[in-house]
């Protein structure tokens, strides 16, 4: 048996800025540049907030003051790396039991250039497909190795 899952979404860009500035802009400054069209909430997006510590909330605020959770901070290694939990399901709703990971790394290429890389992974945990994976696990057929790999998903 082979478990097939979608590849992670990967993006990267090289910016003319130090790793420190890139990290600070991406994290504490996220509300300044996040595209307002990329919104989950019901009200138009007014702000995006990423609380700068492990366990910090990641959410958007609507123009009506409502807050819509996106996820949380899983790892915080300024200024080189941050790992976020993106917890929006395929029904476009926040699901505290769902954890897909977004890792953002900041690599200094020179004194004034930084490569920023994004990997959004474990997308197989999203949506109805995840239920099918769970069924396969619950059967007596084994899949021990896969189970180990995705044990986080089951615990969720």
């Amino acid at each position: 048996m082979t478990l097939i899952h979608p590849a992670p979404v990967r993006k990267s860009v090289v910016v003319k800025a130090t790793a420190e500035r890139s990290f600070a802009t991406f994290t504490s400054g996220i509300g300044r540049w996040w595209p307002r069209s990329k919104s989950i909430g019901s009200a138009p997006q007014a702000d995006v907030v990423l609380e700068p510590h492990v366990g910090g909330r990641w959410y958007e605020r609507g123009t009506d003051g409502s807050e819509c959770e996106w996820g949380k901070v899983l790892q915080w290694q300024a200024p080189s790396r941050v790992v976020l939990a993106w917890q929006i399901g395929s029904d476009w709703k926040f699901d505290p039991t769902l954890v897909t990971e977004v890792e953002i790394t900041f690599t200094a290429l020179s004194a004034s250039e930084t490569r920023v890389e994004i990997e959004h992974r474990h997308l197989e945990r999203l949506g109805p497909h995840a239920a099918r994976i769970r069924e396969a696990f619950d059967s007596d057929n084994g899949w021990t190795g896969v189970l180990k790999e995705l044990s986080g998903f089951l615990r969720g």
Binding site: M1, T2, L3, I4, H5, P6, A7, V9, K11, S12, V13, V15, K16, A17, E20, R21, S22, F23, A24, T25, F26, S28, G29, R32, W33, W34, P35, S37, K38, P79, W86, S90, V116, I118, H120, L123, E124, L126, G127, P128, H129, R132, G142, W143, T144, G145, V146, K148, E149
Partner: protein, 114 residues
């Protein structure tokens, strides 16, 4: 259990499959149509589409004598395409902001005015 039981295959790691998925983002396509625009053979295209389907990314339906594939709106296809697009525009906006004159220096705790 054999080791292969644990083999996880990334449905979009293969460039041909990625290309087919990208084409379906533009709208439903018949297998023949996809095969004509692809450098690989029609049976190979069908196999790649089957892998995408097994991964929950696309679905197929019969349309007359043709088999038509489309992004699975109830599956992972739609949300993956959305996430891909989200990070694409987010990274572009981030790059523009971080390089702009108006971007403040990172907060320096030692020089912060209470």
């Amino acid at each position: 259990m054999k080791n292969q039981a644990a083999a996880a295959l990334s449905a979009l790691a293969d460039p041909t499959r990625r290309q087919l998925f990208e084409r379906l983002r533009a709208g439903p396509r018949a297998v023949g149509e996809l095969a004509r625009a692809s450098p690989v053979s029609r049976p190979a295209v069908s196999q790649h589409l089957a892998v995408l389907k097994a991964a929950g990314l696309v679905r197929d339906k019969a349309s007359g004598t043709r088999r038509v594939y489309e992004i699975d709106p109830k599956g992972l296809g739609e949300i993956r395409a959305w996430i891909d697009d989200m990070w694409e525009s987010a990274l572009r906006a981030f790059a523009a902001d971080v390089e702009s004159e108006g971007n403040p220096e990172p907060a320096d705790e030692s020089s912060k005015i209470a």
